[in-house]
Symmetry: C2
């Protein structure tokens, strides 16, 4: 039986024989008794196996190594130990797979750097067991929130020929034989797989908009790519992004959705990942659960970029970067403003020159109906906007930015064929998992990280 | 309010004023009365708006074009019409966005070929509305099945440096400036983004196995790529695949899971997509609902490849391809065998030479513990196997196949560090959606299809 279920229902099995499978997490013997910490990973918490000299296999049992896989049959007994309510007294076992002596994951503290090099083994540690389970729960919570609320999940394409947002940050995809390019005068992309230059998407938003014009409420959730040469603790070349898009929804409505969704996902993880959260609270970020619970109970502040700059200018702080109307805000400003309001802050109506072409222009000619959600301790968690639904304004803005509207005819045509008020946002999923787990390096919240010069496993 | 909700609860609103947003699907006037078929896409079924000469906006209303987006306030009235129980009598409206005269999606039958060219508009048709909603429901059903049953969702990487299965079918990913390659003697991949040659994954299985060795029960569900130059109705260069991997599970256990999961997903779509299914049953595949209901109620047959060949050889059929022990089976054989058993058939223990290196070798030296699920009307829907958990046998098989085990050291190391009986399968998600919807061309079950020379939108 699964160890998670045995932990939940052990009382029904006291005195009875059970068969469990799993791996040895720790193994110690003392005066004729052996104790094995054992888990199959179905839950965070394992069980204790015990055996004594009376067991005919005592000798072979006592030599079992950490990391080995066993199939064990034994009797469930109430335990006197402080750490567990019950234990399983081994009657018989099968060694499914030994762990060789050089098994790297020993029951001691390993550095995260070391574990990154052993990324294929690190989910076997308590830390990564907790992190990746929270990741899985948060993924499902996102799906559940949107499905319950009538959204359509749309798989926007990964391969794309348009590069509207990620100028210069797009991975190119090809089936051309690069070796054979060495002799040619000009590269003939008509001979490439798709007959033209293609790359990996930097956002599914534009395609999601086409579906919002049919289903009103849609979301994408999938991998996204940036070929940005950044070796920081917060950048990945491959990451997951969640992007809802909602027709007949303005910026106020969008903020309602962002707030409700975030609270839903956090609540889901707190309720369904109790043991993992308790572990992370104890060993990774003290106060993690309080931080998350506080956020769920808070009302998110809504304030314009202009008001934020005024607050920053009036603050009695010596800024590294002087806050300015019409400019972006720095990390130190984000931090100050979330502390100022002691909670999450939606900052709206940003200067148009620092935001994307598709955002709805305000009448002032200077700002757009963009919104960033700033969260204490993590900074920007979501970025969204009401979209420019006016054909002429959209095309004019593209011209101002030197964009060729013909390459995106399908996108701007949405404004010719039943355009409407609509809004959407994006949330980098790893950023959320970092917030949920307290993990500070983005490499440690994704199974296999891809960064400059790292594409292992 | 959302039109889906109004349809569900219209009785509560009879005689009351409501505001709805959506698009005009059809518009006709007759003797001083106008009728508008109206939907926001939140559900399959729309509503009818009516207005008469008494409306001060009669003139402008009567000129509204199909495809236009409106925000309408009106009174809910019981309707005398046969097609609807209620209608909304327009009091006032705002034209959110006109549809220009050249709007391609008119209320008539469009060919699927035409709609592929207009892929960004096709979700607005009834057909694609139904198909993409079933796709969304099936996606969620997969997540819900696995999460309810204690599986961990693992996001296996898309970018990868290993190409174990898809020799020659892998898209290459690069940030090298291809133009600059023209002068060089040798391509220096150490200067590429990842410092080596990388491509797009053809399967997440191997990485999923690493997580199964920590969590016991995991699944991946994400985009997968094949640079196969196939222009058929069943191949895509980019498609979604679902791959569970389960530790301490043998081939029999795997088949139990496959059967249970498939039935769960089908039931979920039948229950949550009633209107869509009824439409698809009427207009796409007559008998679709019966077909699906029958499958859910059936017990899947389990039979070995050898037995299948014997049945085929004994059949009174003139085969285009003669069935042979030790060889793969053809489409005509798949069809025969599902008809022979009048239901889904698991075919097990395939000749090892036509299956992948990682499958568990049987003692006969000839076969592996692979299983394909053959389903009436669609053929192979899932492919899986018990994995070879023995280090020596796995490496020996890799050598036989001329593979370099050093490139996959992490994968074969799983057999050194607590290896165990484990199994998994893969299901091409589009294949499932085709089966669920009756759609015969794979291009019509994915939002934006990628095939040779097609990478639009």
């Amino acid at each position: 039986m699964e160890i998670k279920k045995l932990n939940e229902k052990y009382k029904d099995f006291i005195g009875k024989s059970v068969t469990v499978c799993g791996w040895i997490k720790n193994h110690r013997t003392s005066s004729n008794v052996g104790f094995i910490d054992f888990n199959d990973g179905t839950g965070f918490k394992g069980i204790q196996l015990v055996y004594s000299k009376d067991n005919e296999n005592y000798e072979s049992l006592s030599h079992l190594r950490v990391g080995s896989a066993l199939r064990v049959t034994g009797i469930v007994r109430e335990s006197d130990g402080e750490k567990q309510a019950f234990e399983v007294e081994i009657e018989s076992y099968i060694l499914e797979g030994d762990a060789q002596e050089d098994y790297p994951i020993q029951p001691k503290r390993h550095s995260r750097e070391f574990l990154r090099e052993q990324a294929y083994l690190r989910p076997r540690t308590n830390l990564f067991n907790a992190v990746f389970r929270i990741r899985s729960l948060a993924s499902f919570a996102i799906h559940e929130y949107f499905q319950k609320n009538g959204y359509m999940y749309v798989h926007t394409p990964i391969l794309t020929a348009s590069d509207c947002e990620g100028a210069g940050e797009m991975f190119q995809v090809t089936t051309l034989d690069l070796d054979k390019l060495r002799g040619v005068d000009e590269i003939d992309f008509s001979k490439d797989f798709f007959g033209k230059k293609t790359g990996l998407t930097v956002s599914g938003q534009l395609e999601a908009e086409t579906f919002a014009m049919a289903f009103s409420k849609v979301y994408t959730f999938g991998p996204t790519f940036r070929a940005e040469n950044s070796n920081t603790t917060s950048h990945l070349a491959e990451f997951w992004m969640m992007e809802p898009e909602i027709a007949f929804c303005d910026l106020e409505g969008l903020m309602d959705i962002e707030e409700e969704m975030l609270k839903y996902v956090i609540n889901y993880c707190l309720e369904n990942g109790k043991e993992e959260m308790a572990f992370l609270d104890e060993f990774v970020e003290k106060g993690l659960i309080n931080k998350l619970t506080k956020l769920v109970k808070s009302d998110f502040k809504r304030i314009s970029h202009e008001e934020v700059i005024t607050i920053l200018k009036n603050a009695d702080v010596k800024w590294q970067f002087a806050p300015e109307y019409g400019e972006d805000i720095a990390k130190e400003h984000e931090k100050y403003i979330t502390e100022y309001f002691d909670g999450p802050v939606f900052i709206t109506n940003w200067p148009k020159d620092i935001k994307a072409f598709y955002m709805k222009q305000n009448d002032d000619g200077k700002t757009v109906r963009a919104v960033d959600l700033e969260v204490p301790g993590i900074g920007e968690l979501m970025g969204g906007s009401q979209r420019e639904e006016d054909y002429d304004k959209l095309v004019a803005r593209m011209h101002e930015l030197g964009m060729d509207e013909h390459e995106m005819e399908w996108y701007i045509n949405l404004r010719k064929y039943g355009t409407c008020t609509h809004s959407g946002f994006g949330m980098g999923f790893e950023r959320l998992v970092m917030y949920l787990t307290g993990i500070e390096n983005i490499r440690d919240v994704i199974p296999y990280f891809r960064t400059p010069n790292n594409c292992d496993f």
